[in-house]
């Protein structure tokens, strides 16, 4: 069970590496998407209960162990927030390409000091 959490955090580190070390604007945006997916996955993993089933009730079914439903609702909200941020970043990237003519973040560096 521990291995899944460690893999999730490793995915987060991959995303943060992409944000910090890549030069292309689009790769930075992809890094943000990866990191945010990793955090959502981590959140869902905290909801797992051993031997649980999905928390949906149907008529004529016995209620046995269910997984925790609260993180599912929270992650739904978080995915939508991530979508809005990504859409805004992509719009910025398109406008940046129009104004600067390049996607290289080393060249988009006019504000200094």
């Amino acid at each position: 069970m521990m291995a899944v959490y460690v893999l999730c955090l490793a995915l987060f580190c991959v995303g943060v590496y992409a944000i910090l070390a890549k030069r292309n604007v689009i790769k930075i945006i992809v890094g943000i998407i990866i990191a945010e997916n990793a955090v959502n996955l981590f959140f869902i993993l905290t909801a797992y209960r051993v031997g649980g089933r999905s928390p949906i009730l149907s008529p004529g079914q016995e209620i046995m162990r269910v997984v925790d439903p609260l993180p599912h609702a929270l992650v739904l909200t978080s995915i939508v927030i991530g979508l809005a941020t990504t859409a805004l970043l992509v719009a910025f990237a398109i406008r940046l390409y129009e104004k600067y003519g390049t996607f290289d973040i080393e060249k988009i560096r006019e504000l200094k000091g």
């Binding site: 945010e36 993180p71 929270l74 941020t85 805004l88 406008r95 940046l96 504000l111």
Partner: protein, 501 residues
């Protein structure tokens, strides 16, 4: 629940409804965006002042949304600190809204500005009244995404570059915060802040709380522009249009950054001496670096942005000292800094509106042609420099006294040194922009329109009279409830879970 507590959800509902009402019908009716923004902020200010009275009379008020009792349901909490922050946010929001009626005539599609501005205001007030930690995160994201879009509002080269950097770093900060929330939920299995505080007090400190404290410090520190995480601020605040710079520097970094930091560290995780030392060190570092980098700037708004970094250092150091006097000083400096920093940014905006440039080397001698702007800028510069009897002097004095009283003589000396250098760059702005002889391009300028003058004038008046908030009668009403909430720490949890006092 007392009947008057029904106003608490209105703090989020009014700006949110106003924003989408403007989006629905604001394009066809010509003056509707301005009207909607001004009336919404005025309404918020009236409600905020009433909420101060409520918080004094009833203590901590807990509002159970949907009649589900916390911790099962979502709670909105109004205590002294929340009422104080609400007054700060709505006060600055009202005057910036008035200023933007005149300033934003230069931009097309003014209804988009009104929608985004009201969304940002809704997010900020949502952070302040939130009683559980995920609601705080969602409203923080609403305000943050609205501010990314507002920084890039003019869509010029520099604005876009600054907004992209700000958006990437802000997203990273939000990811750290979300990771911290996920960790805390897995550890305590609750999202209500008061319940979390109770659980953490029973189980004691462990490596988990240390790790989440670091994550929260990184995330909220990035929103508040503390020093290792400040790199987005000097680019984002100058490139935004002037009312947005005033909102960002005046209230956004405080509501999303410093207030949330205080809430989590004092009322949920519990303040330890190690945490206090870290906050004080980061505060002193911000003070020093901000002040040194501000003196060398020739762009007026970039200088003010670095000054924001250093003043946030004062606030965080004051709050990090941990004694009641330190917390009082930090909170009072938060209020003062909102007022005089937004006034300075509005003045820089007025200068740019009249002369078309922000470079201090190209302008000069504006005092003769623009008397209101230079008078208010002088008042704000005196306040930031800490000259008595302006408001900034009193709050800095209290922070230095608190540092001496707690035995941190080195930090007190560092604060005095930073104060002297702050006066130096404040005088630099006044000398190069307003005194002296007018340069060639400043010959035919006029004063700015009346609505802009009005908002700047009232803010300057608050700067001058701000010291009166320390008088014995007024202090118990406004500042002391706020610092008492912080001083109680995790014992606030017991109050909230029992349905308020």
């Amino acid at each position: 629940m007392i009947p008057a507590a029904q106003i608490i959800p209105l703090f989020v509902a009014i700006p949110l409804g106003g924003a989408f009402l403007v989006a629905l019908i604001g394009r066809k009716i010509p003056r509707l965006p301005d009207l909607m923004v001004s009336t919404a902020s005025l309404f918020l200010l009236v409600l905020a002042i009433y909420s101060v009275k409520l918080a004094n009379a009833h203590g901590t008020i807990v509002y159970a949304v949907g009649n589900w009792t916390p911790p099962v349901g979502i709670a909105m909490v109004l205590d002294g600190l929340a009422a104080f922050m609400l007054v700060t946010v709505s006060l600055i929001g009202l005057f910036v809204a008035l200023f933007s009626i005149g300033y934003m005539e230069r931009f097309t599609a003014k209804w988009q500005f009104a929608t985004l501005f009201l969304l940002m205001l809704a997010g900020m007030t949502g952070v302040i009244v939130a009683g559980d930690i995920f609601n705080l995160f969602v409203c923080l994201e609403i305000a943050a995404v609205a501010s990314y879009a507002l920084v890039a509002f003019g869509t010029e080269r520099h604005a876009l570059e600054a907004a992209f950097k700000y958006a990437v770093m802000g997203s990273l900060g939000s990811l750290f915060i979300l990771l911290g929330i996920a960790w805390m939920y897995g550890y305590t299995s609750t999202l209500n802040m008061a319940d979390m505080a109770g659980v953490l007090r029973n189980t004691g400190a462990s490596r988990m709380t240390l790790m989440t404290a670091v994550l929260f410090l990184a995330g909220f520190g990035l929103k508040a522009a503390l020093v290792p995480f400040h790199a987005w601020l000097p680019d984002a605040h100058p490139s935004a249009p002037a009312p947005i710079s005033a909102m960002l520097s005046g209230v956004l970094i405080k509501s999303l950054g410093v207030y949330a930091l205080c809430r989590i560290f004092y009322n949920v995780l519990g303040m330890t001496p190690a945490l206090s030392a870290v906050l004080m060190f980061l505060g002193a570092l911000s003070m020093g670096i901000g002040v040194v980098l501000a003196i060398g700037q020739w762009d007026m708004k970039r200088l003010l942005a670095y000054s924001s970094i250093s003043q946030i250092g004062y606030i965080v150091m004051g709050i990090g000292i941990g004694t009641p006097l330190g917390m009082l000083g930090g909170i009072f400096h938060l209020f003062n800094h909102s007022v005089f920093k937004s006034l300075l940014f509005l003045d820089a905006g007025a200068v740019e509106y009249a002369t078309g440039t922000r470079d201090l080397k190209k302008i000069g001698g504006l005092a003769r042609k623009m008397p209101v702007t230079s008078g208010t800028a002088l008042a704000a510069a005196m306040s930031v420099g800490g000259v008595p009897p302006f408001s900034g002097f009193w709050s800095k004095l209290i922070i230095i006294f608190a540092a001496v009283e707690a035995g941190h003589y080195g930090y007190a000396f560092w604060a005095v040194l930073a104060g002297v250098l702050t006066l130096a760059y404040a005088m630099k702005v006044i000398k190069y922009a307003f005194l002296g002889n007018p340069r060639a391009r400043c010959q035919n300028i006029k004063e700015v329109p009346v609505c802009m003058q009005l908002s700047m004038g009232i803010l300057a008046l608050i700067c001058i009279l701000g010291g009166s908030l320390l008088l014995p009668g007024v202090r118990e009403v406004f500042l002391e409830p706020a610092s008492t909430v912080l001083a109680e720490g995790t014992w606030m949890a017991g109050r909230v879970l029992n349905g308020g006092r």
